[in-house]
Amino acid sequence: MGQSITVTVNGEQKSADVEPRLLLVHFLREKLRLTGTHIGCDTTHCGACTVLVEGVPVKSCTMLAVQADGQQVTTVEALAAGGTLHPIQAAFKQEHGLQCGFCTPGMMLTSIALLNEKPDPSDDDIRWALSGNICRCTGYMNIVKAVKSAGAQMRASAAVPEAATAATRS
């Protein structure tokens, strides 16, 4: 019943034989041991499992691994790939955009996609973009601040694109 797939995960080609019913989130967590992608609700509600597929936020608990065959997937593990925090990570840390951290990988990936589409989002834009990501700890205020601050940081360093785009390029 296995089907062979090749997915480019965080810039690296990964091939595997998988059952068609395997969900993308299980492929990432169990086959590739990339456990930064979390499972919160498992019912398409919370957004903790959000990853980028071809740069677009997707709930990986609601996509089959076979559907990602031939595509690019970015998980939270890509963000600090070079050993330095991505601006979104630095901003979440600086602005206290997390407490338990469970929702944070999904929050950050959704935020990066927003900032790529809209480098200078308003508070409303941010709340809108993150409305599919649930946080049970922070009350959201500091998450919004973190995304704003990361946006400012990324715009400022647009002159040095290596730093700002290292993660999203992969």
Binding site: R21, K59, T62, L64, V66
Partner: protein, 290 residues
């Protein structure tokens, strides 16, 4: 949660997909955005032996006006509807509805056609298509047929679609001048299905209503078209009395059930209030305002 085992097919052409469906019949399900089907598979409410994923077929993601028709492809996603300037300028009821479907991440994948095929009585797009008097093109290996949206829904999660058919195109009459619409939805929180929602689509002729479509979400076993309310508007000037009468008729057309989202009376009342507001907003837009 893991779906029951199935075989996965990713055809590259429509003909190949239709051939598979023809061969597999009831054992197969079409996979579009997967935002309703995959949750159902995980809960094992559905366990088809085969999935036919249409995402690898080229050219199914379109929205265009041609030959008097606004034509929508089976992979046109909620997020594209949300971002479409064409819909924002001339098909207000669609532009209003799109950002109110689920949440932004689900909208990145879910499709309009998939929603309509899924036929959840609390789904929003079916109601919008009823108000717009859309036609649905159902294609199988042996040919295609066209069904009116109003004849398509036959109950909760059931439609005129045969297992061998793909909803291959949604056709909406091109918006004439002086057309306006609105979609009003009450939800408990972002991402929730509607407690109640109302779709309105109006076309004005010389200060009178040339055509009117009113659809209701989540207040019956399927998306409902409020026919008597529509008839009361036809040829009338849109004064307060006419609007009130149509709104009362729409509330009568609703068949809500009491649940954790509200009582029967509450839901009926929202239908009335939203129809009034929707008609006013649509009228304003038909005259070129907001």
């Amino acid at each position: 949660m893991l779906p029951a085992p199935f075989e996965y097919h990713a055809p590259k052409t429509m003909d190949e997909a239709l051939g598979l469906l023809d061969e597999l019949g009831e054992d197969a399900k079409v996979l579009a955005g997967g935002q309703s089907l995959i949750p159902l598979l995980k809960l094992r409410f559905a366990s088809p032996a085969h999935l036919v994923d249409i995402n690898k077929i080229k050219d199914l993601d379109f929205l265009e006006e041609r030959h008097g028709t606004l034509s929508i492809g089976p992979l046109f996603r909620h997020k594209s509807a949300e971002r479409s300037s064409l819909l924002a300028s001339r098909y207000h009821v669609m532009a209003d509805a799109a950002p109110q479907i689920a949440d932004p991440i689900i909208r990145n994948r879910g499709t309009i056609a998939g929603s309509v095929a899924h036929a959840d009585p609390s789904g929003d797009w079916g109601t919008v298509l009823l108000a717009l008097d859309a036609d649905l093109v159902l294609r199988s290996k042996s040919g295609s047929r066209t069904v009116k949206a109003r004849d398509f829904f036959s109950g909760p999660f059931s439609t005129a679609l045969q297992p061998t058919e793909i909803l291959s195109e949604i056709r909406i009459p091109v918006a004439k001048p002086q057309t306006g619409g609105a979609y009003l939805k009450l939800e408990r929180k972002v991402g929730d299905f509607a407690t109640v929602a109302v779709a309105v689509h109006l076309q004005m002729d010389d200060g009178k209503v040339g055509s009117a479509g009113i659809g209701l979400t989540a207040v019956g076993p399927q998306n409902i078209r409020a026919e008597r309310a529509e008839a009361a508007l036809l040829g009338a000037r849109l004064d307060d009395d006419t609007i009130k009468e149509a709104a009362a008729l729409a509330a009568e057309a609703a068949e809500p059930k009491a649940d954790h989202r509200g009582s029967v009376q509450y839901k009926r009342n929202i239908v009335r209030v939203f129809t009034e507001r929707g008609l006013k907003r649509a009228y304003e837009r038909a005259r070129g305002g907001g």
